[in-house]
Symmetry: none
Subunit: 208 residues, 4 copies
DNA sequence: TATGAATGAGAGTTCATTCAT
DNA sequence: TATGAATGAACTCTCATTCAT
């Protein structure tokens, strides 16, 4: 796996990310990518070797971005509850700004047709889990959180809720009377975030 | 849309469901379906008209199953809280037994490439929402539930949490030391269900 | 080749004639014929053996109709010129009422892909040529017609002119301001017929 | 529509023209064209987009050839009658050398199944009609031609006669004792041309 | 580094025909 | 006599990839 990508390669990756997220991997042809990226069809094979390796490169490239985050949260001067709230808000914000990437990953993981190197992604997930664990333990030490918390179930709740909401966006837009991109993003950042924060807190707070 | 399917059609639908869930719609060829179903390639077109109509038939066929459920829940002799708990348990059980179907739908809805007739599915979702609404209102009338509940956000929480857990099954199997299908199903039916029930309750219970 | 056709067979032949004339032999599927004729797809093979034999049957069936005509013309109490005029008028009328059949034959003859038994059709053409020859000789004996007439070129002139006009019908409708089926048929029966009569006469009349 | 065709495209067009004329459009498969042209099947789609666009390209390509003709005829130092004779001779020669093309067009126009861009061909026909009109008016001004001439009926007579003769070539070869390609072409260029010239003249000359 | 030509495999679909009833 | 199911071959077209330049 190449470690560095030049400008042209990055451009191709960006286009591929967009199209993969829109039409799926199988539903996107190299010709389409080449056309949108305004390059020759042969360039994809030339730069990445094959369509499959393009996908691998894309995942590798994006997961590198995801790594360096959430780690310093526990060092900030906040209460454990505030840290959890911030953790959730940051996480949603991160997923939301990387929707396309997560969309692709979600399906490529579930359709494990392609044996890809998802190690880096697994590492990211484990890192995030560790960060959360640290906060949780801190809160438990301070007797603010419950002692028996099923920590690994927290992120699927977070991510899953967000993504199912997003996947069925049109359904919820109809039900919730959301009629613009702006309102949608506002709803995600406020109502949906608060909804998820409330959920997470309910799972960890000690309700005497 | 045909209302009835004969045995051979059902067999094809079952094979298609399995392969679509494994490889995705685009990643599954009619030839592959025909091979697995041990029929002639032309039979799919013969029975369903086209590959796309096969998918529509599949969705229609499965969503018909989903309709007649959850409706009578409010009439059962249970407290509102018990009804919500049962609603969650039934819902998860239903999704879990129709994993493949939901997997396909998730994909096809998010990649709204194919303008399909998802009306029946939308109806099911609206029906389920209505059933839940009824229970919620009952609980609110009895002053057990909060008055300001964002009901439409409850099912994405439920479904999303389940599916993200399932999608990342291998990750959680590693973290949670689950090493068999039986243990996985048991975990879903007990721990995951309880986790989600707890979440939902936290969203609706009035905590004075 | 079967000599007699029952009612169902005749119905199929009529439908096939219409569709072959509209879409061509290759452009017409047995399924389409069966659908329009409201019969089972297998019936065509059952009754005629194959699609190709259906075409042969159609040609055989229709050319039988064409035989018994034009023969008695020379016995009528008319001048040679009147006989020629009537010959032309009858011929055009015959072709016009059998447009579809002639259309099909025209192309099947030119695309001699299918080695069909067109003997009966050749006989018809030879018979018509003989009838015309008889009239011509009569007129030559009466010193009304030229002595050196290229008789075989007369019918291609007649048929060819009619058919090229008909084939390019839409072009001529635009040029000639013809805007209805009635006007078109009237134009064929009057102007076009007179035009062709004038041509034929100019070819045979002795212009001292 | 591409304006220029490279050598390979022209080669494909030539092969397609031959096969379409022999077997018809529907009766000719891309595979057959590719085989005869000794190219890969995918090349037809690659160069022309589709089978239908190949046909359009073929018609466009050939009709471009036909355009720049007959126009300068009226400027030549000939009598109106000589101009008409030359018009007929040139026209027949042109059709004869483009037999295949005209054959295909005849078929495709009559079976107007495919909504093709026949604009260029219609223009050619209209241009030819205009050229003839000019000559006719010249002859009428010189009081050599009749005043009431049905000009649009002249070209169907010309083309139709030629084509019906050609379509039934084998029949006429038998009747006229023509037994070689050379004799056939000679017959077309001399007897058939004179026959048609005589017809056209009879239609326009003022016979006081 | 970059391109357009070219390839062979495979896609979905339709076809004429045959089979079992 | 008649049917609907079923078949295998053929169709057009698109695909990812490779080749020559």
């Amino acid at each position: 796996m190449a470690l560095e990508f030049n400008d042209k390669q990055i451009h191709i990756l960006q286009v591929a990310e967009k199209l993969f997220a829109e039409k799926g991997y199988d539903g996107t042809s190299i010709r389409h990518i080449a056309q949108v990226a305004a390059i020759n069809v042969a360039m994809v094979s030339y730069y990445f070797g094959s369509k499959e390796k393009l996908l691998e490169s894309l995942i590798y490239w994006r997961t590198q971005d995801l790594k360096i985050q959430l780690e310093n949260l526990s060092n900030e001067p906040l209460t454990p509850i505030q840290k959890v709230e911030k953790y959730v808000a940051l996480y949603i914000q991160k997923i939301n700004s990387n929707r396309q990437m997560y969309q692709i990953l979600q399906f490529e993981i579930s359709y494990n047709k392609r044996a890809m190197d998802l190690e880096s992604f697994t590492e990211v997930k484990k890192g995030n889990l560790a960060s959360l664990n640290k906060i949780i333990e801190e809160g438990q030490a301070a007797k603010v959180f419950k002692s028996n918390i099923n920590v690994p179930l927290i992120s699927p709740t977070l991510i899953g809720t967000f993504f199912h909401f997003h996947t069925n966006r049109s359904f919820f837009e109809e039900v919730l009377k959301i009629d613009s991109e702006t309102k949608y993003n506002a709803y995600v950042e406020k109502e949906l975030t608060e909804h998820i924060q409330q959920i997470i807190k309910s799972l960890i707070l000690d309700e005497k």
